[in-house]
Homo-oligomer: 405 residues x 4
């Protein structure tokens, strides 16, 4: 900590924790702190963050507030969704996929303002510190990284509040007491974890959910929508073309209304422990299934199965923070190569927490009624070919059977 | 066909198709046909099959009707479920997993009665012919296999009906006309495909479903159940111990009632074409998610991620008919090795087509509240370790960044 | 065979077998046959093939003789070598990689001359029929494929000779008797199999080898060479820039001289049986190891390990004939993405059948003496970071150990 | 370091470094140090280690010297060799595979003598610290681990020598000066790295090699040997049955004589840097190829290809120190399942640094001359089956071609 730092770019939400960090950095390193606040669709006002930064002495030109919503969906969420990735079979990686973009923008700002360090508010037990810092180091190998939660002695909430009070940092009323759990939000999802959620046998109380209605309170009638895809990415809902962020936001509205995308998960963190999280991914859940739906029709079996085999690894890389790694980029190159004809329309039924693909069509469909039909296929497929196909597939098993059985 | 056959064991359902096959085999090969009818929980009376076989001249001692329900669930469904396998990300392999057991029993009977051939009623376009025949050949490499659908000239339903009438084969009233789709059923699932389902843009009509109520007609109140697992397999529901088949049957009842486990899928067949199927897997869908739930708590990350990477391959092997192959057995050995402590209880909420894991507990839990807690952890985890962890994980990315960025 | 064919493009080597096929096609299908003879560096004169085709009545403008050597190395051998693929851990895929190019050119010619069928001389037991035909079908889905060895009744060499004599087809003196084994050659390798090689316990007699001296007869002094790579492909030997084909040919000369690249293999064919082959891949063996050598220095660990995990699958795809498949192209996209900085020089020692990488250097080296040194590293690496790295990697194992040990 | 330690078990070679560590531990922690010296076939006298420990005040009953050679080969080397694992395509993991056994025995001794800590002499830059410590933590989750090289201030050789002199620790004459490189040895291999080897462009000087003659000095005549395998493990050489360690030692003699098993490698360490190592694995190199040879004949294709796909991951796990992990054990279970019939004899030719499998035979051979033969096979294989096999394998490519080409 005696190391000389000139200027630090802090990922700053404007909340209590990063406000305390802002002050602590100013004091501890005696240097300028530059704040960066990203709009990733978390649904909060960002201007209060500006006011707070100003109040704490950050120069006007050192307060960065960026709307990254379109970039987030277009360059991070959509590429990931092309892979059908699910971490540990279930989780749509909502937090994980936002971190690399924040890290990237922080490094860009650091270069712009001549900062030699970056800082974030993630704790020392979680995955986010890893995701932020792997991003920083990959993009700026010699940057200094300051992770206050691993360094300071504000090891309890009481101490944090004391520090805030001592330094005239405004404390939101609801932060005075213990928050019953911790959350993270962006356009793709909201996650909640900690405290009341720490016993994995206890059902998550309904008040934890903020992005979706309880399925029991969702409409009693199903609703049908269509999503159009082009080259693997969503481009329209119900025939209306939309930008990536607008499309995801629109799906979020549908998902919220129908109680879609709640997940209660015990997962394995990269840092080695199990944790329990509650995720709400309303639009992402719909989108994920719709993407599978259009791939069913337009993707060749060889491509589809290779994708399925690569997806767990790809998901793990994103979860662990390796977005900016050669191996993630290699997998992305393979996945993207497969998406050229993943174009068409998927029809979905939304009902009481459920999403059901009920129809798909495409100008590039590989499905051939003529070949598959139970009716006379006019020679499109010769059933006798199957005999040879089976015989040669069986040959090694027969040689084995003769030896072993 | 001029090949001399002495005795054939036919997989015989008692329905029109296999009745025609029975007669056709008797005529074409001029030899004794032995019938084998398996109870796999498909929910049909089997005694009519006996009567029908007798009527068509099969000797009393050559009519085999076996209740394989417990064996099916214990030795086929449960081992598969340990893997969390989903074919093409979604399908629980209900038809695929039944075929190897039928093939195995057919071969056992062939050995018992001294038959030199086996036969089945699967068509030349589907996967089932492959699954049956790879099983036959693996278990009895020199058996002769007769697949009438690939050989005869009864290439239309009209010809089939004519053949049946000519040979006094009873034709169920509802088989006279064209059935609007084709089905297969066992205790794990019912599949429907063909005809009215052949256009993948058209929503499946509700009358196709036979094993589940429409989610819209399911109870308006959620229902909670628990499943107990021991070493990776379900052993009790709501605390009541049950045999494998009883457990699955009980879950089927829950699933039916709550409209759980319907899937509309366009899939890639092993024989090279895409087809569209409608699956109902009520109990299996609940079981699958419950198994993931108990693994979340009791399975180490390394084991869990390796399983997730192997699962698509394992699913493909079962789908393609390679149950009796060394590579499926190798994967099974790896999977089974991981299940020793997969023991505990999962609590699930069933509601309107949805299954939600809401709690899990285990005497072998690897989840440690003490380690993960947001509160003071009394030294269980040293947050400063994370700094070194990140630094060394980043090292190669930094070296790369220095070169490339 | 009663199907009406108008014009057939035959892959024609000019040897006895394809000459008989040429005549047989003309007779059987009563149509024009177009011959295509490729120079893939197999080291045979091609003009005799022209004369032979003319003699058998093929029109001048229907005799195609193409030098494909540069295309072969640049677009097939080099992309494959970027993957480090070895089939079954040892085999450099010399035959497999040539087939797609032949198929592709045959289809091009078929389109050019308006042919509706293609034909080849591969037998019904081998892999090559599959490789040819998958290529044909992928590139021209409705082409007719004629595989005489699977169709005709010339099932013994005696009958073949009789047919040749009857139709005045010239029979090379050495083909009258039984050849002691069968060979295939191109610039990458020569394979030999069959007959005297069929007992896998018997050592391959030295006369089988045609492309390499016996290591025992190789020079008694080692020879050193360098290969320069750019973006994953070889571009120079001993500092002298060369085209792809010239580079491979030059390495073949070195390999031949030093007895490099002999392989005696029992392998698993795609058609289900084991076969024993003897391969000589002199230049390819040197190139393969050199490519690994330059990757060691320039490829990131994450990329390298992912490549190693994908390579067996990639090799299998090429061996099985799926060059023109989406999944091979996806893997290629991933592999190629990794090669951008695989640039530099490898130094190799060649001696008595052995190839040894003894040095490598690169402007894009990721190897850092400063970091790795046993000496004082001036802070390039903080050894204390390792403690945290190990602690967090161990965390899950400790939780597991507390439960299980 | 202020933590109270009662008793430490040190992995003690008797060399200068671990002698200094022994003294340093006694001084720093003021507690008893127990020494453990393992005979893993490194080819050094172990009694001097006893004398040295005694001299430094270690109690007679706290000096453990164990001959682990048979256990090492039987339970570590052979299981690994069953997998055909090669780290980064080339390295036989000679150092990696020894570390878990040392760790395991250290923990056993710690339990026996009531020690609460273990210590080792590996540095903070290498892989061995990770391998030791992951082993310790997996087997004894609450053990304290002391890694002096990461903790003390003896950061240069000069300081180390001064410390040794000050404490009357005997310094071997050849350790006074700088050793030109660092080595590690056990029965499987000797590794050398550092200093004169740090420039990866410089050829390794011949004096670095200690386990093999220079191939140029190897006998001018090849030598043939046979190895017999049973269930995947070597059991006899030239027909003479041997224990695992004797067998490996015998192969080492052959390898030494013929200059076999030298490898110059730039590899990726788990801690994130590239390093350059020189490995000699004489017997292991022969054994590895022989094992592949017997598998070629006895292992089914499905099993073989699955093994090939799993091997890079398995190798990585061992290299990274995860021997005692659930995922390594799962892979081992899969691999071991495949080895039941890997029984038979391999014949090898050894010559001037090269190992060549020239023959293999087995009572469980899956190779069928009858099926594969170029001659008349009497119906063992119907070539017409290949047509259907190809047609159905091509179907998806044709559907794709119709859409895309």
């Amino acid at each position: 900590m005696t190391e000389k730092i000139n200027r630090i770019v802090l990922a700053f939400s404007g909340g209590l924790d990063t406000s305390v960090i802002l002050k602590w950095l100013q004091q501890t390193y005696g240097c300028e702190v530059v704040t960066f606040t990203a709009d990733l669709g978390q649904g909060e006002e960002l201007e209060p963050a500006r006011a707070k930064a100003q109040l704490m002495g950050v120069k006007q030109e050192h307060i960065f507030i960026d709307d990254l919503r379109e970039e987030f969906v277009k360059d991070y969420v959509f590429p990931m969704m092309r892979s059908n990735a699910l971490y540990e079979g279930l989780y749509l990686l909502g937090t994980s996929i936002a971190r690399p973009l924040i890290a990237k923008r922080q490094i860009e700002i650091a270069k712009q303002v001549g900062a030699d360090a970056v800082s974030h508010g993630a704790t020392g037990k979680g995955n986010d510190q890893v995701r932020f810092e792997l991003g920083y180091y990959a993009l700026s190998p010699d940057i200094k990284v300051i992770a206050p939660w691993r360094e300071w002695d504000l090891t309890s909430r009481t101490k944090l509040i004391e520090f805030a009070e001592k330094h005239q940092i405004p404390i939101p009323r609801d932060k005075r007491g213990e928050s019953p759990f911790s959350t993270d939000a962006n356009m793709l999802h909201t996650s909640s974890e900690g405290k009341v959620l720490e016993d994995p046998w206890e059902e998550t109380p309904d008040y934890v959910y903020s992005r979706t209605v309880n399925p029991e309170d969702a409409p009693d009638a199903p609703e049908y929508i269509t999503i159009d895809f082009e080259r693997g990415d969503g481009v329209a809902i119900n025939g209306v073309g939309m930008s990536p962020a607008t499309l995801l936001e629109t799906l979020n509205d549908y998902g919220r209304k129908h109680g879609i995308g709640r997940l209660d998960l015990v997962e394995n963190r990269f840092v080695g422990m199990k944790s329990r999280g509650m995720y709400e991914t309303p639009g992402g859940t719909i989108y994920h299934l719709a993407h599978r739906g259009i791939e069913q029709l337009t993707l060749d079996r060889g491509a589809a199965h290779l994708k399925d085999e690569l997806a767990p690894r790809y998901a793990e890389l994103i979860y662990n923070g390796f977005w900016f790694s050669p191996e993630r980029e290699m997998l992305q190159a393979a996945i993207d190569h497969s998406q050229e004809k993943v174009t068409g329309t998927v029809r979905l039924k939304l009902y009481k927490g459920g999403v059901h693909v009920v129809g798909r069509k495409s100008p590039y469909s590989l499905y051939s009624e003529k070949v598959v039909t139970f009716e006379d296929d006019a020679g499109a497929y010769d059933q006798r070919d199957a005999a040879g196909f089976i015989k040669l597939n069986a040959l090694r098993l027969r040689l084995l059977g003769r030896r072993d059985r």
